[in-house]
């Protein structure tokens, strides 16, 4: 065993810091290594002061109360907010919690576009999707995508016009 270890050391002498943190006594390693037993005191510890609650915060039903601090970004609103409130009736172990949240996220995208328009801002979706970078670094692919988009749109328009013509001739 000693020879094996010695060989390993020699083989790696070119790697700066090789083996410097090797510690055979490091068992069990993280995340168990600093176990204190404090968990058994459950929620009986000195909690930090509470952040005042000035916006709606959806709280996991697996908690007895809010944590001492919480994020106040983008409180739930609109239809997506209603769906999110419904989701929080279910525990984190339930699909009833996560699937409605995914649905709410998609609804929220449409709400975001409507909000932008209401504020007189027309979102530049191509720019938001980073198409400047696509054009700069992946031009062939960008041209390919544009060509496919134009072809599909032309095809759909042609079908629509053809159907309209057929209907009017009938």
């Amino acid at each position: 065993m000693e020879n094996i270890t010695e060989n390993v050391v020699n083989e790696h002498s070119h790697i700066k810091g090789w083996g410097i943190d090797a510690d055979p006594a490091n068992e069990p390693t993280y995340p168990m290594k600093m176990y204190t037993g404090d968990d058994h005191r459950r929620m009986n510890y000195e909690r930090p002061p509470m952040q005042p609650k000035n916006v709606e915060i959806l709280q996991s039903n697996e908690r007895p109360s809010l944590p001492a601090v919480f994020g106040t970004s983008t409180p739930p609103t609109g239809l997506s907010g209603k769906i999110r409130r419904y989701a929080f009736k279910f525990s984190e172990g339930s699909w009833g919690h996560w699937l409605p949240l995914m649905l709410a996220d998609r609804v929220n995208v449409v709400e975001g576009i409507v909000d932008d328009l209401k504020q007189g801002y027309v979102p530049n979706i191509f720019k938001e999707r980073g198409w400047n970078a696509e054009w700069k670094y992946n031009r062939n692919k960008a041209i390919q995508k544009i060509a496919i988009g134009v072809a599909v749109t032309s095809f759909l328009l042609t079908v629509l016009v053809y159907r309209k013509d057929n209907k009017s001739s009938n």
Binding site: Y45, P48, V69, G71, E128, A133, N138
Partner: protein, 385 residues
Amino acid sequence: MVAMNYRGPFRVRADRNRPDPEILHPNDAIVRVTRSCICGSDLHLYHGLVPDTRVGMTFGHEFTGIVEEVGPGVKNLKPGDHVLVPFNIACGTCPFCRQELYGNCHESNAEATAVGGIFGYSHTAGGFDGGQAEYVRVPYADVGPTIIPPGMDLDDAVLLTDVVPTGYQAAEMAGIKTGDTVVVFGAGPIGIMAAKCAWLFGAGRVIIIDHIEYRLDFARTYAQCEAYNFKSLGDPVLFIKKTTDYFGADVCIDAVGCEAEGSTMQTITGRKLMLQSGAATALHWAINGVKKGGVVSIVGVYGPTGNLIPIGNVLNKGLTIRANQASVKRLLPRLIEHVQAGRLDPKGLITHRVPLEEVSDAYHIFSRKLDNCIKTILIPSTAAA
């Protein structure tokens, strides 16, 4: 202020009219951001894979900045201090923080109990706006933020907020024994750093597996390890078995998470149909490629619902699985030593420096892996103010 604004999957922008953050708790600080990064796990948000990612949120959990204002309860920081801010929001007093499980703080996430609060990482991680902005609110300012040591490069400092600790912890949790063969799945910044750190723990052989050639080339040089493209290997598990005399690796590290490629079934069910929390291909390979009695260390991020993995093989092989979000504060003293001694070179991972205003392009470049991108940092125009 200028801040990144999430508008939906694959759509972000920098808005100029975002409200400045305010002190909301006595232990808060307001920090003027000097560097922030786009993390590989930000891409899971960007791709719409993390539930409760709300339109209008600002992402960013890797940042440095100058303290502008502190709440009345803050004792250890003062305006003007230049700090690196761990991505975990941790109170320092709950039973989990007292065990140095700073990624599992019980006092920072209202919306979910599995994980503590994380800056700019959806409401599933607490609903805090993040650091891809000119200014950011930092809760528990006495606990996480660490004054950047004199002389340390800011680019090194910002990578100490997540990439370096996560890579290091991946190797640490693997319980590497001297001479072990370590296989790392994923040649992103975290995987490359995990490979680099595996040497510090005395690994005898380090192998990194990915499918993006420029990243594999980078890993070979930066982490001084072997690097293989799974597309040319055919079956990566069989490759691992053959290259270890049919034993299996001593340790496998999953540094990919939910957006893995390499399995049609996992891709369709996990990423396209979203019937599971992303594609668990790398985890599958890790479990099947490690030796009997071996260790699988997971730092790749998965969603909260569930994944298809061969749990029967975990049982039959007697594996140990260790996983957690990095406990950044716990690791910082040692990692700062490694950086100062030149054993780790975090800034060597940075390939792109982009103004915050061009955040849309920055996300697209990182997401599509354009221009040989490894790691992108965003620099607000107010960074030098």
